[in-house]
Symmetry: C2
Subunit: 262 residues, 2 copies
């Protein structure tokens, strides 16, 4: 059940294609309500060919205060921000936009921040961790940068070596190096590949080399305990699931979206 | 309280400027819920300069099924419909649009239909009534046409005679004639002017000439019983208030908006 909806309710959108699976309409609206803010988050399914015209129109709607951006529009959204956070610029991606009091729109990329928050919630401080992030797509890139911002020394690995090297080059200002599928020497391992979603997937890293004292996190949400997490737990490692990572997300997005209110 | 909101909830908009005062977000969403439809009605405040770009973008959003249009966008909305009802074309106005199963958008103008429904709910059949509609702005024009469609013989009056004559010309296919501020000979009188909202407003018609057996309706909602209605009641006429007319509106809009679903 949701709070009331009236003509005066402030509007936030989540824009993606598809959108039916997104949790933000329920999660963010509940978060707004818990903070006493009369606002809702509404799904908008916009095809890639339509995204530029849609964003140009949406940012001029006077009761829209924020826009959450999901796949496949995170790059396109950067073109519709007047102000981009340093990490959004570095990642060429935006997952949240808000209207500032002066009318300009600012964009940020908080996907990786949720993992850092989930780690802290699990009692794991990222500072000085030697982290290995496997998979440097949108989510992995954001996680690698958020961990580096939080003080970890990060290595990244991807089966596409060119994509991995390109990310390391692009994020040259942060402590991010080229890694491999070997987790030896790392006390934090994050799977940001889809491996583990399908039965019979190979493990994203050589699980036999995970240190017993390490922390292993997986962005895959189904199954909650992936084969990688099961193997890590068996070796005595602490695990953080994809679901753990999604828990803080609504709060992080609400913090960003509501900060623009005059 | 509202039903649940998820990524799969279907979206209807109400587009206006301003929108904070509109009742459709609450009323229509409640109506959808009562019909077991997982859909919400969301307010969108769009400035006149932005309406064409907005409508062009909104009609391509794949989970938007309908758009309610209010002041000042009812004329502009006609440009964004692939199909217009006969009355929308005649009035050059649209108050509701829906996506048809084939992807085209159709538009209708149901503002006047609500008055006819309110009359019927009050036990007043419009067929063969001799109706006088005073004020031929957007609402008055729609009411005059809806009454004529329902079988009444309608006369219209406006202090702007040119505007009145232009409406009679435009609606030449229906039983709509030029009237005056004299309600004698009419057994249904509708005030569609703003007169009665402000203390000290003159009455829109000569109340002393209202027949005791007549029905008098007023589109003004505040006060609920306007000076015209008070005078009419005193003369023994039956009255229908602006609030009575708004009661059936959500149901009429929902009927139209949901008829497009494949």
């Amino acid at each position: 059940m949701l709070p009331s909806l009236s003509g005066a309710t402030r509007i936030h959108l989540i824009v993606g294609d598809p959108v039916a699976q997104t949790k933000s309409p329920a999660g963010l609206t509940r978060e707004f309500s818990a903070r006493g803010v009369d606002a809702v988050c509404i799904p908008m399914q916009v095809a890639p060919a339509d995204i530029d015209a849609f964003m140009a129109a949406a940012r001029r709607v006077q009761n829209i205060d924020g826009i959450v951006v999901t796949v496949p529009h995170k790059l396109a959204a950067t073109r519709h921000c007047d102000l981009l956070s340093e990490r959004s610029r570095a990642l060429a991606a935006v997952n949240a936009m808000r209207r500032e009091p002066d009318g300009r729109w600012s964009g940020d990329m908080t996907d990786g921040v949720a993992l850092v928050a989930a780690l802290r919630a699990a009692g794991v401080a990222p500072e000085d961790r030697r982290a290995l992030v496997v998979g440097v797509g949108g989510a992995g890139s954001a996680v690698a940068l958020a961990l580096a911002e939080a003080g970890a020394r990060v290595a990244v690995h991807d089966i596409d070596a060119a994509r991995r090297d390109e990310l390391v080059r692009r994020l040259a200002g942060w402590s991010i190096a080229v890694g491999s599928a070997d987790p030896a020497g790392h006390d934090l391992v994050v799977n940001a590949t889809p491996l583990g979603m399908a039965a019979g997937d190979p493990l994203p890293v050589d699980a036999a080399k995970i240190a017993p004292g390490a922390v292993v996190a997986d962005l895959v949400t189904k199954p909650a305990v992936t084969p990688l997490l099961a193997a890590a737990r068996e070796r005595g490692a602490q695990i953080v699931t994809g679901e753990d990572m999604f828990t803080p997300q609504a709060g992080i997005l609400a913090d960003f979206l509501l900060a623009g209110r005059a």
